[in-house]
């Protein structure tokens, strides 16, 4: 609990970054399972979110061994970009942003969802939750940085 203790603070930071890594790795494999195994079509917005998500698996892992507190900076930017894209798509699916301005032209509308867990967890919402949680974890890891 004592942020003043540098060793303990670094340990807490490591755990948080590790949890973020577990999260993004699960999300990455999950998205690959949807598209490659279940053959769910991937819309353009989903690809943009993947571009932000997939590198996190590698970047966070590198930042863990040895623990590099600066990994939060590199990963944080990607998580922020992914979060913005995810919230855009969630609003699109919810119909708050009109379909007209959606960038999908390949015959796969981004406002169409294919997988729904528990009635509301579609893929864009999962992506949004993942980026949000990742961002929070990284933020806390950043706060733990011994000054």
């Amino acid at each position: 609990m004592t942020d003043n203790d540098p060793a303990r603070a670094a340990g807490g930071g490591w755990s948080l970054v590790f949890m973020a890594w577990v999260l993004v790795t699960a999300a990455t494999l999950g998205s690959l399972f949807f598209s490659e195994v279940m053959a769910v079509p991937v819309c353009v917005l989903c690809w943009y979110q993947r571009i932000a998500m997939y590198p996190l698996v590698v970047i966070l892992a590198i930042g863990l061994f040895p623990y590099d507190k600066d990994v939060v900076r590199y990963a944080g930017v990607l998580a922020a970009i992914g979060w913005l894209l995810a919230i855009f798509q969630v609003l699109l699916v919810a119909g708050i942003i009109p379909e007209k301005i959606q960038p999908c032209v390949q015959g796969i509308p981004c406002s169409e969802t294919h997988v729904s867990l528990l009635g509301f967890l579609n893929i864009p919402v999962l992506s949004f939750l993942t980026f949000t949680l990742t961002g929070i974890l990284l933020l806390f890891a950043h706060r733990m940085k011994p000054s």
Partner: protein, 216 residues
């Protein structure tokens, strides 16, 4: 040391779970496909849908297609070749799956042309001229209609038929069937109710070869 062990075991666990879920899913899909292969027949085919080839052929290739789909146009020569390759034994049935935006209007034109017995020439014309009426993967119904002006048919009737209930109902039935059959991309083929194991020219040819061997 502890952290490394933790990391490696979690990573290993991820890979293991992914592979296991993949195998389970594929196994499940496989059993589903085998069971529904023939039960599906009534959903796969629609009476009155456009047919090419002998009516009494025992092998039916059903294609769910979008006139704006480039791959559908690429498959068209192969379909003609398959009909010729097994004379009297293979026919092709076309069903609408207008996935591109704007295509819903274009398939209405095709179905209206079908009422005048001009489905195939209309389809060939649209396939051949795809770049002229599809802009950035979006169908332009007005342009498609312009291209169909080149056909010898009753154009006034075509325009009124487009919005006739029998036309919209036929298309609706196809769209519903495509949803039941999980058609998410075009073209999707069913040969006597059996889908392709994986996508490709070769796979379709093989499937037809097997179906002909089974039926004759």
């Amino acid at each position: 040391m502890n952290r490394k062990t933790l990391f490696v075991s979690v990573a290993g666990l991820f890979v293991l779970v992914f592979v296991m879920l993949t195998l389970i899913y594929q196994n499940y899909q496989g059993s589903l496909q085998g069971r529904s292969a023939n039960a599906n027949q009534s959903v796969v085919e629609r009476q009155g849908a456009p047919i090419k080839g002998p009516v009494d052929a025992r092998v039916t290739i059903v294609e769910f297609f979008d006139p704006a789909c480039g791959t559908c146009a690429d498959f068209y020569p192969l379909l003609k070749k398959l009909i010729d390759q097994y004379p009297g034994k293979v026919r092709v049935m076309m069903r609408y799956a207008p996935l591109h935006s704007g295509s819903d209007q274009v398939v209405k034109m095709l179905e209206a042309a079908h009422l005048q017995g001009k489905f195939w020439p209309a389809l060939e014309l649209l396939f051949k001229n795809q770049p002229r009426w599809i802009v950035n993967h979006v169908s332009q119904p007005m342009r498609a209609r312009g291209i169909l002006n080149g056909l010898a048919l009753d154009h006034k009737k075509l325009d009124t038929d487009m919005n006739q209930t029998s036309v919209t109902q036929a298309i609706q039935q196809d769209v519903k069937a495509s949803q039941v059959l999980n058609v998410r991309a075009t073209p999707e083929f069913f040969v006597n109710g059996r889908p392709m194991p994986s996508f490709g020219f070769e796979q379709l040819s093989e499937l037809v070869k097997d179906a002909v061997a089974d039926a004759y």
